[in-house]
Symmetry: D2
Subunit: 278 residues, 4 copies
């Protein structure tokens, strides 16, 4: 998976290298964004008769292909099992959806712990055999608590964080310090109804559709690169609490789709936009 | 069709009056908005054996039912044929869609004229046998031109106006003077991307859905009561011009659905929200 | 909730009775199906100042309203907590979704037991503290096992059954004997791809949408009255296993929507069609 | 655009050839169907500094690439303007939608004539300046009339035919004789409700979604490869005529999307399935 300045011969160079080393391409997705003259590519190939050993692939790709093309790239192996930590508060539907998939082994992921600012889901975590860390957040301890959270994420070598309706805004320091991706679910079709109480805002505005948006977290609230969105139709009959109820199904499905895309390395971020190869 | 302060016995009172006069209810939709304690009702009944003559129905309903209930109401007859004027600029897809339905007699409506600030669709109007009035708008003549448009709408007793991708913002004076409904199509899922170039905004934000919104025009741009919205999925492969192309189908269908709902008297406006009885 | 032969004055008669006894109507939905001259109504009213005691409401409604109108009717109270039994086999996503909502108290329902023909979800049932009954089905014992299941349902006074991807076809005898509703989720947009392996059928046919259908079970497989359906877009890139994965989210959400509608008494069955008041 | 038996090095071989001749790849889409071990590719490249003259590209591609790879391929130039003939009967919404796009020059296509079995749209064709040929079909003249239609299509070197709600079933002879693609719109989400009166069938079955399907015509009615499908939600309130009305918008948009995809050479047929590169 990689991207670089667009120019002639990029697909040829990459596919030729795979071919010459005996790899068979299973999937290839390529995209050129003409606005920014940027080339994006995602290739999946079969290693069963590949001439280069697994440990050397990255080095060889770097020296033989990537450096010359000035490609911003990464290679992962489909048997890798990333570590994902879930942050949750008092709304459990996204957490439940994640845990059900986890226990069903729907995703190739490990959840080494759940972090929360409330104790509400401690017993649920226990029910699924996952350690639960409680970090209550108040104005005066926020910075210290986040520091502890960051230490924990680092100690456990967590690959990415999922905010499953975590109702605390992560501080700029947290976002700046944590170098790995953070995926958030916002309960509106962003950029509409950013910020607090989006269903109340949607009700007030009288919209006929409500939505949910999964995005990577950046330092600007609700403005990070969007991974996935979806909507459901509402009517004047839907009160705010009906919207909240109907939105729950949307949120959990949109968030889980985004996690799946992220786990499959189908998402490339460039600037504030994503290329999602599906 | 009416609404009033909610209290006990409203449905009973209205349906009893219809029943006692020999009307058979074909459709009845009722809605109570508990947030504002407001009661909304739409009733369609058969006049074939109704005891009250068509000319007297409104008066009798007023004195026997509406005044007592303090109902904000209107009665229309399904054979009425309202007059609708279409405003258009240089984007023709909504106009074409309206004209095709008009010539096919899909709607029970009369289009006595088309108004534009550009001559582009003059021949199309002629092709459909509809008078076309050209009012080019510049900063210095806007007020005078709008005055002429208003005179024309009044002279022809136009029932409502449709802005079919009319790219001029109607002045506050126009909106204040024209007492009948104005329906606009905005090419985004409002409130996201209000104002100019919504598809460019959508592209920049990297959304995964684009939308269209049909709404009644009020003095605040793109903030009137929403009648209908819909979306279509986009991806990183869609350039701004792809979004514009795909959005055209959305806009025309959403606008035409809103016109149909309006023509069928299925929409009640209250505050900045609509009750749409479908 | 009721339906009867359509004729004049039905809404008036019912609402007048509620009004005269001091009830305030919260929701009223009414529908006339002109094809079969059938009138359907669902009324929710507030009992706080209702003149008739809770225990007598049904009797009084029967003698004072329903008999005269020849209404096929039922009255339920919003604080009732129906008993629902879930049947499951080896696919757990619908079960998980139901259990997460159950533990979150999203629905006003009691799940006294889970029935399965496989032991796979025994530990999951235990995790949620719900009794699990295993009835392995083979050709020779099917009839006897179903008899035991029916006895259990009867003994526990179960109000309705949900087949949450239960992969055994209930025998005609079971369906005939069990008088309460059975809700099934079928993993296609019926009537397309009825029967076995609908995703394989969908793949073979090359459809661009896959769907899920929640319906009441009748003696004819996959042909009962439809409560809810939804679809998701697929492409040539989706293999059968991709469809199965993407369909899971659809199935669980569609089934849970149907259960919610059923629990809220928003569904009236007439013939092989449903009136769903939303 | 091409497809062949999948094996190693296909992408490399094709992209290398383009690169070596100075072409810059604008879009590349590739798909491997592992079920049939088939490789599909669509490449768009810029000819501005391509070393091979436009007239020789096909020959050179054939001898230098395609023959060796046993590729089933075709090359078209984006400035080509295919000839499309529209067949219509008495339902005009798809025709209108096509004609509006045609006159707006939304598509790069030529419509040299419209064929119908009814005179209804003769004046509409004239309004758009397109020759209209009337071929009334009765049992006894069907074969002769179809022969004349085929002669006309051949004489005008028509590239493809669109059945825009043409209510005559083309005979097997017609389908067998006409070697170019025929695109049909069927007013249901196939395979549900194939054959006559799909909205009546949908109403009877009580579905909660209605759909439309654009597909290539083969000798088996409504069973050809599907290009595009979409659905719209309906309820018990929708009568058959409501479904027909709401379906019209679906049909015209789905058909026009399919025509656009076909015109852009984004569709590859293999067996009874399509690969649609979007």
């Amino acid at each position: 998976m990689g991207h670089c300045q667009d120019r002639e011969g990029l697909v040829a160079a990459i596919t030729q290298w795979i071919f010459e080393n005996g790899g068979n391409i299973l999937h290839l997705d390529q995209h050129v964004d003409p606005n920014v003259s940027r080339f994006f590519i995602r290739v999946e190939w079969d290693l069963s008769s590949f001439a280069i050993g697994k440990n050397e692939i990255s080095d060889r790709f770097k020296s033989q292909v990537a450096e010359q093309l000035q490609l911003d790239w990464s290679i992962t192996f489909s048997d890798a099992r990333p570590k994902m930590v879930v942050f949750v508060s008092k709304e459990g539907h996204c957490l439940w959806d994640i845990l059900a998939r986890y226990q069903s082994e729907e995703w190739n992921v490990e959840i080494p712990l759940i972090i929360s600012n409330h104790e509400k889901f401690e017993s649920v975590a226990r029910q699924f055999g996952i350690p639960f860390y409680l970090f209550p957040i108040a104005r005066e301890n926020k910075s210290a608590q986040e520091r502890k959270e960051l230490d924990l994420l680092e100690k456990l070598k967590v690959d990415f964080v999922v905010l499953a309706r975590y109702m605390q805004i992560l501080s700029d320091e947290f976002v700046a310090c944590y170098k790995n991706p953070i995926i958030n679910i916002h309960h509106s079709f962003l950029p509409a109804f950013a910020g607090a109480k989006p269903y109340h805002q949607a009700y007030e505005r009288g919209v006929k559709l409500i939505g949910a948006t999964a995005h990577y977290v950046t330092s600007v609230l609700d403005e990070g690169p969007i991974i996935e969105q979806d909507i459901v139709r509402v009517s004047h009959r839907d009160s705010v609490s009906d919207m909240i109820r109907r939105g729950r199904d949307l949120e959990k499905v949109v968030l889980s789709r985004a996690i799946f895309l992220h786990l499959n390395r189908q998402v490339i971020v460039h600037g504030n936009r994503t290329v999602v190869f599906t």
